[in-house]
Amino acid sequence: MSMENKRYYLELRGVNKKYGNFQASRNVNIQIEKGRLVALLGASGSGKTTILRIIAGLESPESGEILIDGKLVNNTPGSERGVGFVFQSYALFRYMTVYDNIAFGLRVKKKPRNYIDDRVHELLKLIDCEGLEKRYPNQLSGGQRQRVAFARALAPNPQLLLLDEPFAAIDAKIRLELRAWLREMITNLQITSIFVTHDQDEAIEVADEIIVMNHGEIEQTGSPRELYSHPQTPFVAQFIGASTPVENYQRFRFFQSLGDDTTAILRPEFVSVFKKGENKKYTESAEEGVVEDVIFRGSNLEIRVRIHGVVLSGNRGINDPVVEIGEKVDVFVYRFLVVDGKKIVRLDNSSLREESIII
């Protein structure tokens, strides 16, 4: 597969943005294929909104290129880039009705009245808000507001949709529902979309591809699965998925040391906890630990077990034989993610060499 020949719908090349002395984006490179749903994931203040604003033409970068559909758009006004923007707080026009909000972009573009009317009703139907066209934004629920903002951004038929923390202002209860709704909607419309979030679960659940940002830089880009199983930086390893830091992984059996100043990160999935003699296969290579805590997690049990002076988390099934606090158990670690400077190295248990373990 040759990366050079691939055609991306959106490309950012070496984008830098400063606010005064503060570097909000540093050498940002993004490549997104047409029709993808991409999450821009990072902690608050990591520069996610800035990237969206640069793509939408609301900010201009100090350096770097923005290409949409192969065309350089650095000097194209935001309104002519074919981009729809859903603002974080929705920024609905408070003094306009739902109808006028959705129609705004079409009226600005001087579309014929009939066309506007048809399009607004089509969108109202799409977002399941028929009959609400005469309401003002403050007369809508949070979810309805979000959907109206979505419809307003979609009205002029953008080819690229940008959503800034679309679920942040919504109660936890309907948030899950809206996530599914948005994903379905965007998949059906086949519109290339980027949404910003600081919630890794949201990114993993909704996106085809995740771009992880940290301090204005991109740490890693990949599918949720790739980021999870092949994190390339310590930040990504810790940010995506549950993890326990293990300083002294060198003391565990069947793991060779990759250097004295390296540490490791461990995921619960990499740890199996057995009652003594419960599993013949691993008895040889397992080490003894003591159960510190058993936490009920709905579909499974989290077992916190002390071994070599550290407390690890491992999972056990609900129907497996019960382990008690204080019980001596066999602990088998499949793999560590070893932090070597700025890199992550996957280190597998050497007793498993012949077998392939799929997580």
Binding site: F87, F104, N138, P156
Partner: protein, 276 residues
Amino acid sequence: MDIRKNSGVVKWTLIVLCSSFLVVFLILPLIYIVVTALRSGFQAYWNSITDEYAIKAALLTIEAMVCAVVINTIFGICAAWTLTKYQFRGKKTISTLIDLPVTVSPIIAGLIFVLTFGRQSFLFPFLDRFGIQIIFAVPGIILATVFVTFPFISREIIPALAAQGTDEEEAAAQMGANMFTIFRKVTYPHIKWALLYGVVLCSARAMGEFGAVSVLSGHLRGKTNTLPLYIELLYQGYDFNGAFAASSVLVLLSVVILALRMWLEKRGAKEIDVRK
């Protein structure tokens, strides 16, 4: 002590105090104006207020008021927009300068203009060459009125604009709306009531302005006399009937403005209730 208790000596004492204060300082003088104006009969009153110079003075007052409102509305919107939508150095200074006319005595303001545009000014030969007369002429009166009413409109709009933020404008701009459309469709509804309220305040203040206008006017009867100046002139000439008749016109205008103000406050509060 329970402040909200309905009975009580304190409460009633305060109410009586406030009411008598208002009666003595406000209602009585107003009644006195009307009574004095009508003392020599309605015909005399009518003659006084339809006097050629009285009408000219009233028209000039209205002219100055309209100019002040128009100029200060444009300036006020620009200033409020600049101060709330942009970040820049010297913002505080501009904000403070806008309030200056309220703190400077109107007489001083008048004198400043005389010094700036009068015979001794370096600008005078220049203005003279183009036949522009400011001092002792209508432009001077308008200038003075604009100056003293300078902050009234911008001060009303700034809080309304600041409360709204900039994201609605940004959304509109992102969809390709131009500045004018953004202002008309997005910003204006937010500041409408504040703006109208500012216009009312500005009108009231413009109508009554005496000090600065007095310095710049030159008191040319029928030419540069506004109503307040005209009243002063009649009063100095012991024409009490005429002075009070003209005053009653000014009072009537004030009452109209007061009524407008009350109506605006009610409407504005109602609409904000609905949209916030």
